[in-house]
Structure formats: structure tokens, C-alpha cells
Chain length 180, copies 2
DNA sequence: GGAGGATGTGTACGTTCGTACATATCGACA
DNA sequence: TGTCGATATGTACGAACGTACACATCCTCC
């Protein structure tokens, strides 16, 4: 009812700061103190708002996955034919990456966590389901499955391979799944 | 010329121990002490054989990537037609994973490191080039590129998605790239 | 306006860490 | 056999960590 003593989005800022710190130094290099410094809050605030580091990481990655999903949906909602869909996907794979290398790092950090801790796997599950839902607005379910995996692999290989991956190769790969 | 004071594969054992520790607790949870305990060597041995943690990680992941590459090559060297190739790839994506979940964890830990530190990207570069070389024994270069990325994406999605990925869907996806 | 609960903070404790380095052990060779 | 590098180890130090918790601050309601 009344204004909180301090900013009510203190928690939000901590989560955003956590994502920035993770992108910079990885989960390995993330500590309460570093996140607190980045968010401009006292150390005590960390344990007050989050009972453990794991809870903070979980909430941070949940927010991250939702953001990426929203962008994915926004990019693909505008297309109306297979050719446009292919172009949109090629853009996602080749351009988004250049804009935000942090996204690659955060994605991989999340996958790594999910591979080891089941608690984080729910985040990847939901993320992948949302991606498929978006793709299923344009293609059938099985194709959506394949396309989603292909996009994942292309994104990683374009990012971590020295050999340049041409947009034409990516486009051709996508179109192979789109043709009936 | 003469036998070393101690076992000459002390270094090797440390590297293997490091991989075990990384698989268990991630790069984040890897320390000199833990690796030393696992390898059965004194703490002093760590800094003696490796000037830094980063050097140990680099050598460990190099060895890991080479091992996976060898297995990949062994699996694919025996095939002689597209159908067999598809079956071999489906096996790689669906079965290897069940055998060794550690491989997934280590792969993702490496990718995460590579995404942030260029020094580790050389390892992924070499790994991906070796994979393509193997694939190019069966298909043309562009197809090898696409297939390699597809395998990557399928592997990750089969591992981190709750929705089951049928082998038939994987096989169909692979065959789409194999058909001329 | 004062009591008391909710909200937020500063600090201190015990642990673990990477690293340095003095010391110990051994093999090679005179 | 005795000496001298090379090889290897144990230990100690300062820094950073997660967490607990006593304390401060503020809002609400009587």
C-alpha cells in the first residue's frame, strides 16, 4: 500500500547486476560481493533478498531465458512465408550474436549449469518449449523440433568456430527443413 | 635418459584428475587442492607441473577434445553409405550421451570458457575442424558444415530438453542434409 | 507519540583459495 | 663417495569467500 522504504525494484536491480557479472566473469567468478558492488547495494542486501547464491542464479537465468524468448518470438512473429522465416532465422544466428556476445556467454553458462543441476534444467525446458511454440506457428511439430536444434547448433558453431560460416550455408540448411 | 624420480606420467594423472573434478563440480568448483586430492599428489605438485590454473584447464580440455574427436572418427570411419552414416550419427547423438553424461558437462564447460577466453577458442576451433574433416570423408564441405552444426544442436537439445526427441526425428533431420 | 513488527545493513567468523618459497630428496657425474 | 643441479614437497600467508546475526531504521497502528 505504501511506498517501500527503499526502491521496490532493488531485487530486480540485483538480478540484472548478477547477469552482468556472470557475463563478465562467468558463474565461476560470481560472488555476492561482486554482484552487490555492481548493483550498488550493501552486501547484507544479498542474503536478505536471496537465501542463497543458487537462488540468485536461478532467478537471473530465468529472467535471461525469458528475455531471449521474447526476442525470438518478436523476430519470428512478423514473417508470413518460408522465405521470410529463413531470413529471420539467418539473421538471428548471424547478427544477434554480433550485437550481444554476452548472450552467447550467458546461454552457455546456463546450459552448463543445467547439465549438472536438475533445478536449472526447468529453465532450459521452458525455454525450448517456448521456442518450439513459436516455430510451430509456421511449421509442424516435428519440423519445429529439428529447426530448433539446428538453430542451436548453428548459433554455437558460428560463434565458436574459426572457419567462417556463410549466411548462404545457414540459409540453405534452414530451407532443407522448411521444404515439404 | 634415466627414469624420473617419480612416475613420469604424474602430469598425465593430474590432467585426468582435473577432468574428473571439472565434470563433477564444474570449472567453478575446481581448485588446485581438489585436483591434487583426486590425483593423489601433494598440493605443491600442482604449481610445480602447471604454472597456473588456466594452464591446467587448457591442457585438460585439449585432451578432452582430442578424445571426443577420436571417438567421433572411429564411429564414422566404418560407414560406407548414407544410411549407415545417418545411423551412426543418430547413435552418437542419442546413445553416447547416456553412456557418459560427463561428456556433456565437459563439452559445455569448454564452450563456456571458449566463449569468454580466446585462448580456449583454439581448442574448439581444432575440434570443429577435425569433426568436419571426418564428415568430409562422406559428404561435401558445405554439407559437412551443416551436419556438424546440426549434430551439435541435436546433442544439446536431446540432453537439455524435457520433451523426448525421438531417434526417428533425428534420423530424418540428418537424412535431409544427406540427400542430394 | 510511542510500541512493536517489518525491513534493511554492517561487521565479524571460519573456511577455502592461489601462490610463494624454504626445504627435502634424488640422480648424474667427477 | 661426495657434490651439485634438478626435481619435488610441505607449509604458511594474505585475500576473498558465504553466511550468520546483532543492530539500525522506518512504517503502522493504537
Amino acid at each position: 500500500m505504501t511506498a517501500r522504504r527503499h526502491d521496490p525494484d532493488r531485487r530486480d536491480r540485483i538480478i540484472d547486476a548478477a547477469l552482468a557479472v556472470i557475463a563478465e566473469g562467468g558463474v565461476a567468478g560470481t560472488s555476492h560481493r561482486r554482484v552487490a558492488d555492481r548493483a550498488g547495494v550493501p552486501l547484507g542486501s544479498m542474503t536478505y533478498h536471496f537465501t542463497s547464491m543458487e537462488e540468485l542464479l536461478h532467478e537471473s537465468f530465468t529472467r535471461f531465458a525469458e528475455r531471449i524468448s521474447e526476442r525470438f518470438a518478436a523476430r519470428l512473429s512478423a514473417v508470413s512465408n518460408p522465405s521470410q522465416l529463413a531470413s529471420a532465422i539467418v539473421d538471428l544466428v548471424h547478427s544477434d550474436l554480433v550485437e550481444g556476445p554476452d548472450d552467447l556467454v550467458l546461454t552457455l553458462e546456463l546450459y552448463t549449469l543445467a547439465a549438472r543441476k536438475p533445478a536449472f534444467r526447468q529453465i532450459t525446458h521452458d525455454w525450448m518449449r517456448r521456442s518450439r511454440d513459436v516455430l510451430e506457428q509456421h511449421v509442424d511439430a516435428k519440423t519445429a523440433h529439428k529447426l530448433d536444434a539446428l538453430i542451436e547448433g548453428l548459433f554455437i558453431h558460428v560463434s565458436l568456430d574459426a572457419t567462417p560460416h556463410g549466411r548462404d550455408v545457414t540459409r540453405d540448411a534452414v530451407l532443407r527443413f522448411l521444404s515439404s
